[in-house]
Symmetry: D5
Subunit: 95 residues, 10 copies
């Protein structure tokens, strides 16, 4: 099941740079792990902003929440989730 | 180049059903044509709304506008465009 | 899987009353059918507005969309969908 | 009487973790106490956000306020309350 | 129990004046009836707008909805309801 | 002359509790003083929020501003003012 | 007493031009009458929009409402009213 | 003096096509006339929308309003004006 | 040329009171200087808020920016500028 | 390819002035470098705000993001990007 997720990252300017860099490294590793697993299907950067648009393919709302809420940078994120489904004009059957 | 496009379709309830059905058929044909051409990369339905989220892969802003503004249902659409680019954590090189 | 759905109904004042009453009757029948089927789990009226707050229990986003988009009054609705999942403090296991 | 309540929790990143964990534990205990009492009828997590959607069943607005404003995490919450009532298409008599 | 209700009235400019005047007369009669009954406690005009701010004193959300949704001008209203309760600094015990 | 005033109070979580409690006590005393004077006509709590809806009866905009801007908690308030006047359907002559 | 009033005029494109022109003429006459009376103190056009920003000097909220709600173009206006008072840094005593 | 102007054009779907086409032709002619005159400095299309972003170079607010409000399509436009001035980091002296 | 300017002042509660008082004194002196110069034509307080509505009479956008951006309290202000011009119904020729 | 970019700069009042001044100097140098390179085509100040409106001419979304996200003041910016393209009424062929 596909979910459209936008993540705006707001890291306070006075946050400890070392700690934040460590979090960013974990975030990247986790994001790549989930992409390889086919769960985080698409991850794009919004041009000009510290934001991304992502497409998740999960089995349930609960799985989506567990994935998002355990992202290292989650405490610094404003997240919006939109449930997607197959469009009648899509040339793909499964999406 | 990737663009994130949302299209909310608002067809007046008193519009001529026959004319609208004809437009919808053209819209579907055009959408599938562009998907097969690899331009309209992704087309998903927003669950619960007469809206879609799409990803377009075009060579320029101008090409994007020409594609969108000539869609049969364009006069009934509220369109929002967001420029995307490759995310540093993406496992794909080209997107 | 649970989805929180709000439906604001806006019926133009110059719509044909007879046609609208027929639609409303179909809407009520369909809503009760889905409630009996356990799909439309909760249906509440927002006090003071021609709006409802509902909880749907469906197997997928696609099923949710099919249910909502085929409601007789769907063309007159402004719908917002929010994906829900079990809260860690809930005393229920399944919701 | 039913009230729809959304609670967005915003805990500053520089808050004392120990104090916050203690508050969270109290919050969970209180939430479960009220659910067992049948007052906090439904408690769902919004997928992807530190937010919940809840349905309270109380005798008055005042009782609702007392319950919400004494929640341990209330100082960190953005709360929205919507008064609900029985929908004419509901198959239930009491809700 | 007190509810704060705002009602913005939007009557289309091309509506039949005679029919609207009749509705307005019914609306006034009903409003005065409910004020005399102590249910519609306060009714104020928002300066510069075809809107009012009202305070209703009702026994339940359901009663509030029944009163509002049967107002003659309800189909032309944008209504917002806010649940009120006694303020700890109020010098009145019952409100 | 009547004014509708909403006051949302936002006290930073890291504010000095003792100082804040002292301010709250002053605020309550001042509010009750103005209510007894018939200036602060109505003071209601918004259920679920650290907000109030109030009705002030003052001789001028200037008097309203002086009253509001000298409230002890004013620095922590988001205030919205709406000018009210007698509604043509009100059963009261003076309001 | 001063009030800041913005008026956005929205005349449907299919309105009868002759009737509208007549209304506009009455509006202009009334506006000039009130300016000469010193009630409509300032009337400015918002560059690029069919909107104005005005300052009214009236004795009460009620007087303001009576003036605004009887303007010929009132049915086509979106009006916002803000109560003003003398600024402590103003070099004028009365405003 | 430079002004940033956005124009969203909303032509009702049931407008007379012939009349609209005539207006569009006049609009184009006028726009090109003003560009040649150096007043309408920049005119860009917003990709995906029937909107433009323009930069006007005029001697006064009044001149700007006269130009915009006499555009043939002005009655169908939602216009927003932002006053610009030279940026301290601009490599140009006059803009 | 006239500009409508609103200034919402937000001074953090933990700012150094002495420094802020000094800034406020400078702000008042500067405001009165500009009013005497006829540049800051009108300065009104918004009742109930630490905000003002002002009318500036300047020769250019650039002059307006220089005046506003050098106000002592500018760093604590949320400013909105609206370009005004003479209204066709104004009884004044120059404004 | 042209992109319309607005940048609102919000520098916390308690930031280290020396560090910020250094950043501002770097920002100015970088902005002028990009203007000379023809990439940052237009840079205007929004009158009354610490904001700019800019037009970038870049080969791709990715290039735009790299330019914006590496601006020295980027961490203090709220950025909005709008994709532009040639307007059919433009007298210029390339923009």
């Amino acid at each position: 099941m596909l979910f459209h997720v936008t993540m705006d990252v707001n890291i306070p300017n006075d946050a400890d740079p070392t700690a934040i860099d460590a979090l960013k490294a974990k975030e990247k590793a986790r994001a790549q792990e989930l992409q390889h697993a086919g769960v985080w299907r698409h991850l794009w950067r919004v041009a000009g902003r510290y934001s991304n648009v992502s497409i998740f393919d999960v089995a349930s709302n609960g799985e989506l929440h567990d994935l998002l809420s355990t992202l290292p940078l989650f405490p610094y994120m404003e997240v919006r989730v939109t449930a997607l489904c197959r469009h009648p004009s899509s040339i793909h059957d499964d999406r």
